[in-house]
């Protein structure tokens, strides 16, 4: 994952933690002055969060340790992020910014294979693998993290969907194929292995995932419903 060093990305979640404080809609800290120090603190904290997630996993994520690693006041971390889920949610918002460029080989089969191998090598990466596991664990616990994760994958999928659109134009798959569904179909079995079955994520598994998605797409399994 690419850490954006500065940048003024939108802050964590628009809706604050609901407070019955009358009339006062306390704006999330970090929104009014997102520049300079605030941005530096955020970058350091998110980097430390990633490191801690990789080392201990989501359930052992300790805000105090994050503060120490980020060389930032403990109070700051509690105030701005509050909980482990809060940290992960913000980390996911940042991760959604970075996007890996898709390949474009001119054949759907090769594009899907490239995508499958990219997912595979990401999940096998000694840093990214544990990080993704942790992030998914967080999303399975906290609804805010879940919607942040959803946004992240939406961006990733949208990046690759054009491959399928082009393939449909070339006639490789039915014209009314849902492009995003095809891309998701490539990832799904690999994530299933990572999280549920525990089978190894080898190259053969990736090839299989791509091949299966392609075959199903050709057979029309991902055609859009007749749209009422």
């Amino acid at each position: 994952m690419v850490i954006v060093p500065e940048g003024k990305e939108p802050e964590v979640s628009p809706e604050a933690k609901e407070g019955a404080s009358p009339g006062g809609v306390r704006p999330e800290p970090g929104t009014a002055r997102p520049g300079g120090r605030t941005a530096r603190v955020r970058a350091a904290v998110l980097r430390a969060t990633g490191d801690a997630l990789v080392e201990h996993g989501f359930d052992r994520l300790d805000l105090g340790e994050v503060a120490r690693r980020a060389e930032v006041g403990r109070t700051t971390v509690y105030r701005r992020w509050g909980t482990p889920s809060g940290l992960v949610t913000d980390l996911l918002a940042e991760m959604a910014e970075s996007s890996l460029p898709r390949s474009d080989t001119g054949s759907l089969e090769n594009d899907l294979r490239a995508n499958a191998q990219l997912v595979r090598s990401t999940l096998n990466d000694p840093r990214q693998g544990p990080l993704f596991r942790a992030v998914i664990a967080a999303a399975a616990c906290d609804p805010r993290a879940a919607s942040a994760l959803r946004r992240f994958y939406r961006a990733r999928i949208a990046e690759w969907a054009p491959c399928v659109v082009a393939a449909a134009e070339r006639g490789e798959v039915p014209a009314d194929t849902d492009p995003e569904e095809v891309v998701r179909a490539v990832s799904a079995p690999l994530y299933y292995r990572l999280l549920a079955s525990g089978d190894p994520l080898d190259e053969a598994a990736a090839e299989r995932a791509a091949k299966a998605a392609l075959a199903a797409a050709r057979a029309g399994a991902y055609r859009r419903p007749a749209d009422r």
Copy 2:
């Protein structure tokens, strides 16, 4: 999930938390006298664990609360299970016992559709859905929970694999098709929706999953490699 009321299933994990206690290999509590009270306590605690997971999710699982709900001493829960992950690991061991009967309609398409609908309705169930999310979160955090989850899915998949074997014998799919891979292919996109994409798990999604797995299987995407 069916709660087995008594029964002498093997206890949590064989290897204890490594202790440097010289010579003394402390056997896990609950192994020497698995009957009577011990079993009752376990049943009550696991039921309470499930309830708590459904209500708050894995990250808010509190051992003290579990003890209270199970009407069991707090000390007991800490001694026998120690951590949230420990509880979930044992819960998964119990869940692996219960198995839902597969259908057998005589056509692979209908069998896979039945399986997909079963998975869908399980994940949509107001109790099972949150429970599965929580259990997967735990498995993404703790290696012991992960291997317990793997065992759970291995049992589930093995239950349904015969459908594919029979279909191969009938010639519906290539003879060297890996039956378990086909069954996993049905589940994978549904779990992907639950955890990553967040798209609704409706009947159309289940039908699509079954249809895609069938098409890919027919096309030979799940054939076993030539076996060296």
